[in-house]
């Protein structure tokens, strides 16, 4: 038996290697999936051209890297080694701060050097964009108010600004901080009379006095309990500025419970063998106390912070509908539409009682995600007038050889017609620089 040990081990090595390939193909063993969203490479189809230029090989290698058997435990094992031995995250989007606090990278970027550099190198250009956006927002608020719809902004806390003492040192700081969206917008909102709620400012005033975490050590969003208390206040604010009554709610006593989504979301995103535990969290239950009143319609447009509200509030009992427009793109909780591009926007705006633009401080750079400009145009102009402007822009694009040439390449890459690409560019310009094409926006 002992004499055969090398032979047995050799055969076992082959079996193990083949087992990995088999698991990649047939997934016979159920494995804890990795946390987070990522794009899986499709199975590449070879052609003579793609083989000869090496692109098929490169795609195949990416595909195998993303799908081989036992990939998940292999990644977790190495991530655990790096995290445990060096206190580092292998996920480039997650940064381990002081005292084990976890931060999403873009919050750290926002704190140290401002995210403006993702948009422009020119601070004045960004300041101008903020100013135009704030003016348009004030105009849109007024137009919608006249049509019976209350539009308002909720500024939510970014972890960098609420808990800066746990941020990692600014090792990678290479640029002079530029204008910060939060600072600029709060000033501009006051200047132009935009209705908004600054939850970040409120949290900063109470962060040292409350007995619960406003944002958890291992999470990137506001904590469930903080979100619950905050939304209770936001609903009161809505009623005060809107008038459409909202059913009263009662909050119970806080209690400790197992960690719920997303209070540990960044820790989960580390994809370790043993996920770091979140220190005990408090939660609070919400109960609607009067079911006799009517239910207004609510549209929430913004980032992922609103998920916490959907987990903790009986929204169906409070609102006729709560449509969640995720970054003004995918729609959640709307049985009829998946995407905002499918909507009859004028009708949708008129039907809603409340529209809440909800962004955390680090996401304010994309406030509205083009919703503000597009909506204003729809409310101020007829379809014929908008088409006329679009036609003018398209004609301009067609007369510009360089532009047209670039669009030809873009259309070929995206597999769309040149006409479609031209219209897409025209629509983009109308949404992002509406003041250049629509005079009424400047009034």
């Amino acid at each position: 038996m002992m004499r055969n040990v090398p032979k047995i081990l050799g055969i076992m090595t082959m079996v193990l290697l083949l087992l990995v390939a088999a698991q990649g193909e047939w997934h016979f063993k159920r494995i804890r999936p990795l946390t987070g969203a990522y794009v899986m490479d499709p199975i590449p189809r070879p052609t003579l051209k793609t083989i000869m230029d090496g692109s098929w090989q490169a795609q195949t290698e990416r595909y195998i890297k993303g799908s081989f058997g036992f990939r998940e435990p292999a990644i977790r094992l190495y991530n655990q080694y790096v995290y445990s031995c060096y206190g580092k995250s292998m996920n480039k989007g997650v940064i381990v701060g002081r005292d084990g606090y976890l931060y999403e990278r873009y919050f750290v970027e926002d704190y140290y050097e401002s995210r403006m550099y993702r948009y422009t190198e020119n601070p004045d250009e960004l300041k101008h964009k903020f100013e135009m956006e704030a003016k348009r927002l004030a105009q849109l608020q007024e137009l919608l108010r006249e049509r019976g719809t209350t539009l308002f902004v909720v500024i939510l806390p970014g972890k960098d600004m609420l808990y800066p003492e746990h941020l990692p040192p600014a090792d990678t700081l290479t640029r002079t901080p530029g204008p910060r969206a939060y600072t600029e917008y709060t000033r501009l909102f006051n200047q132009y009379g935009v209705r908004y709620v600054d939850i970040l400012d409120w949290f900063l005033t109470i962060r040292d006095s409350v007995t619960y975490d406003l944002m958890t050590q291992n999470g990137t969003h506001w904590s469930n309990i903080a979100a619950t208390y905050a939304f209770d206040s936001i609903m009161r604010y809505m009623q005060n500025i809107g008038g459409a009554p909202i059913r009263p709610v009662q909050l119970g006593q806080p209690y400790y419970d197992y960690t719920r989504e997303p209070d540990n979301d960044l820790a989960e995103l580390l994809n370790l063998v043993v996920t770091p535990g979140q220190p005990p969290c408090q939660y609070v239950n919400v109960r609607v106390t009067d079911n006799t009143q009517g239910k207004p319609g609510l549209i929430v447009l913004g980032d992922s912070f609103f998920w916490n509200i959907t987990y903790n509030f009986p929204l169906d009992s409070l609102f006729r509908y709560t449509h969640y427009w995720f970054y003004n793109n995918t729609i959640y909780f709307d049985p009829e539409h998946d995407n905002t591009s499918q909507l009859d926007m004028r009708k949708t705006l008129d039907d809603a009682d409340y529209i809440m633009l909800s962004y955390c401080s680090g996401q304010l750079y994309d406030l509205g995600n083009e919703f503000i400009g597009k909506s204003l145009i729809l409310l101020l102009y007829s379809d014929e007038e908008i088409q006329a402007v679009r036609d003018t822009i398209c004609a301009h694009i067609r007369s510009d050889e360089n532009w047209l040439h670039n669009l030809e390449e873009k259309a070929a890459n995206e597999g769309i017609s040149l006409d479609k690409a031209i219209v897409n560019d025209a629509n983009y310009l109308m949404a992002t620089r509406p003041e250049e094409y629509f005079d009424k926006l400047n009034q």
Binding site: G54, G93, F326
Partner: protein
Amino acid sequence: MVFSSHIFLLYFLPAFLLLYFLVPAKWRNAVLLAASVIFYAWGAPDFVLVLLVSTVANFYIVKAMDKAQSRKTKRMWCAAALTVSLGLLAWFKYANFFVDNVNALLTSLGLGVMGWTKVLLPIGISFFTFQSVTYVVDTYRGVNRPMKSLVDYVVYIIMFPQLIAGPIVRYNEIADQISARRRLRWDECLQGFYRFVIGLSKKVLIADVIGRSVDMALGGDLAAMDTGSAWITIAAYTMQLYFDFSGYSDMAIGLGRIMGFKFPENFNNPYVSTSVTEFWRRWHITLGTFMRNYLYIPLGGNRSGLWRTYFNLWVVFLLSGLWHGAGWNFVLWGAYHGIFLVVERMTGLNKGERLKWLRVPVTFVVVMVGWALFRIEDLGQCWTFITRLFAFDFTSLQFPILDAQFLTTLGVALIFAFITLFPFGRKLQQWTFYTEYRPAQHIAVWAVACIMFFFCLGALTATDFSPFIYFRF
């Protein structure tokens, strides 16, 4: 295809080994040949035909050379074979360099530049060219008879374990193994597997980790680098290069052993050398051997007087530098080493072990400074970096030098690079590489090797896996 890729580790290698072990022994070379063609074509489909045609041409030219009766005809065929091999190397590797320099000269003279389409460099050409040179020359010298089988010859030239980066196996070292390998031994296969995993770990867990920080450090403003950071950076690159290259050689030797080949060693703890001369006996050994046998000795070696010996040495290292890359920095690097070799020979410092504890660190520093020439291709940037090494400006160490994983890995690399200075290290090396394990030892080492293999797989995958909480738009 590279050894540290998922497709090689998880699909190509298992499928090849399965087939290789299952077919009858007489078919193994054919399986190895087919696998090698696929292996090469995967990364360079355009060049596989060039490789095969030149290899086949060489086979028949050498056959003709062997049959030739007169010495003159033999020499003519030998020259033809070398022209095919070295001509391809010259064209693919040095044509761009030549034209760039001619154009630079023409520009400086105020003349127009030559039109030129860049030639792409086929991977591994420097290595398989040298292997074919050893075949031609060894046959010409009568060291070996030419191979009878074309398949066997092509296997020798393009065998995938050493095709891309060596070791450069001389024809006479492996001729018998190709035509008549002894039957497979499981303990040899296992030893080969262990060696492969050691190489993979050196590459993935040490060289790649250190390399990421080195790239960041050298990608920054070199003029602003403080002296401490500069020395740590170059020490790190010194370790990265060693663990990367020797790791690759370990993988190649291990794969060869699994298949029943015994490839020559390519590294022997080069950083414990007491002189630059010794360093070159321990670093890339197969290249050194090739240069000695096929360049230094034909140039006259040390048989033509002292000054001619110095000249030959220096020329060999100049050309060795050029072999490493078509760039002036490589030429300078070769010349730099050549100067030290000549000086050591003049002063007798190339012999003996006197003052070992002083000479080892001095040699290490000389080699490290040389690596700066090797790594930084822009000569201006290179000079800036070298001046920072000796600027004595110890202000503050900066990221990425202060990264804990980098520093720890560098520490581990330094320990392993110098461990054989001590008896314990030499024992460990002997036990790891040259001991026939007992069954119980096999079980323990095999378990560790399997875990390390899986761990390396994790490192290769996790490095650029960064999912988002949600998709953003």
